[in-house]
C-alpha cells in the first residue's frame, strides 16, 4: 500500500485529501506544520509527500531543502496561485511537481500516480550486506553468521537511519531527531550508549569499529566495508 504524507495547515484541504486518498486505498499520514512535518517524514517514511507551501511556522522551500538533505522521496507542492518565482524556487529546491490551488482532485491524483510510478523502479536495495553481517531494511532483520541478531526497537531505529544513509555522515542532531524525536536533539548520551550496543552485536572487534564509524564532533557513518 502506498503511503502518502500530507503537510498542510488548512483543515478543509487536509480533510478532502484524506477522504479521497483513503478511498483510493492510500495510507494517509498528516502533519499541519513544517517542524512536525519533517519529523513525520522521518518517522512515517512515506512513498510520496504532498506539501503545502503556506505553512505557519516555516518557509516551504526550507522544508523541501530539509527533506532533500537525506531522501529523494517525491514531493508534490501545493500552493495558492502566486508568483512564478515561487514555483521556480520550489522546483529547484527539489520538488517534483507543483500544483496551484484551487486544483482538481482528479488532476492531483493523476500527478500523484505519476510521481509514485516514476519513483517505483526502486533505487532501493532493501538488503545491505557486509563481510560480517547483512541488514534487510524491508524485513527489519539483521543476520550475522547465518543466524538472526536480536535488536531492540531503538537499536534497530538507529541502525536503520545509518544504513539508509550508508556512506554518508549522519549528524548527531539528525540521528537523535529521527530516532528519538524533535525534542531530544541535545541528548548526545543516547547515541553513545546505543552505538556501543550495535557495535557489540555487529562489529567483529567492537573496540575498533569497522562499519559503525565515529566522526568526532560531527556524527556517525555507516561504512559498507
Amino acid at each position: 500500500m502506498t503511503r502518502v504524507l500530507v503537510i498542510d495547515d488548512e483543515g478543509s484541504i487536509l480533510r478532502a485529501l484524506r477522504i479521497n486518498l483513503t478511498a483510493r486505498k492510500y495510507e494517509v499520514v498528516t502533519a499541519s506544520d513544517g517542524a512536525s512535518g519533517l519529523g513525520a517524514m522521518a518517522r512515517a517514511r512515506p512513498d510520496v509527500l504532498i506539501l503545502d507551501l503556506g505553512l505557519p511556522d516555516m518557509d516551504g522551500v526550507d522544508v523541501i531543502k530539509g527533506i532533500r538533505g537525506w531522501t529523494s522521496t517525491p514531493i508534490i507542492v501545493l500552493s495558492a496561485a502566486g508568483q512564478e518565482s515561487t514555483k521556480v524556487a520550489a522546483l529547484d529546491a527539489g520538488a517534483d511537481d507543483y500544483v496551484t490551488k484551487p486544483f482538481g482532485m482528479d488532476e492531483l491524483l493523476a500527478r500523484l500516480r505519476a510521481a509514485v510510478r516514476r519513483a517505483s523502479p526502486g533505487p532501493d536495495e532493501p538488503v545491505v550486506a557486509t563481510e560480517d553481517f547483512t541488514v534487510d531494511l524491508a524485513a527489519k532483520r539483521v543476520a550475522r553468521d547465518g543466524t538472526d541478531v536480536r535488536l531492540t526497537p531503538t537499536e534497530w531505529g538507529l541502525l536503520e537511519v545509518l544504513v539508509r544513509n550508508r556512506g554518508r555522515l549522519v549528524t548527531q542532531r539528525q540521528l537523535l531527531q529521527e530516532v528519538w524525536g524533535e525534542q531530544y536533539q541535545t541528548e548526545g548520551n543516547y547515541l553513545r550508549v546505543y552505538v556501543a550496543h550495535l557495535r557489540r552485536k555487529l562489529e567483529p572487534d567492537p573496540s575498533r569499529p569497522r562499519y559503525l564509524l565515529t566522526e568526532p564532533g560531527m556524527g556517525y557513518r555507516f561504512s559498507c566495508g
Copy 2:
C-alpha cells in the same frame, strides 16, 4: 549537455523554446507532428521530451503511449487549458508533468530541470575532484589515494566553505564568520593554523600549495587544479 526534443506544431512556441533553451545551453531538437516526433525520439535519444498535445496528425495521448512502450525518458506535456480529464489521461499514459498554455518560461524551465534531475541516475553527486583528492560535500567525506582522510569538524567546516566557493576568493572575514561565528572576525590566527592543517592533509607538497591558495591581504581560494 542535456538534449531536449520539442514536439509542437505552433511555430511561435517552437521558436520561443528554441531560443530560451539554447541560451541555457540545452541542445534542442524539434519536430512538428506526432509521426516525425516519434521518429526523432528514436533517432535523437533526447534526455527529456516537451510534447504539445494538440498535434495535427495524432492524438497526444497515443504519442505518449508510443514512447512509453520502449523508453522512460521524462515527458513534459504542453497543452491549451482544457478539461481536467485530458490532464489525467496524459499523466496516466506516462507523462511526467503537465503544463497548460499560456505558461511562464521560467516555470517551464524549472519543471524541465526537475524532470532532468529526477531522471539522472545519481541526483547529482556534489563531488569535487582534483588530481590528488576528492571532496564529497553530501557525505562529508574526503578521499586521497583511495582512502579516506580524517578531518576534524573545524577543518571540515573550513574546507567546505572554500570548496563551495571553489575558484572564487573567500575573504578572511567571511571564512571566520561562517566557520567560527560572528564574533571571531578578527582572529586571523585560526585561519593560518587550520589552512596549514588542511594543506598537510591534502596538498601533495604542503609548502607549495596547489589547491588551497593564499591571496595575501585578502583571504584564501580553492583552486580545482
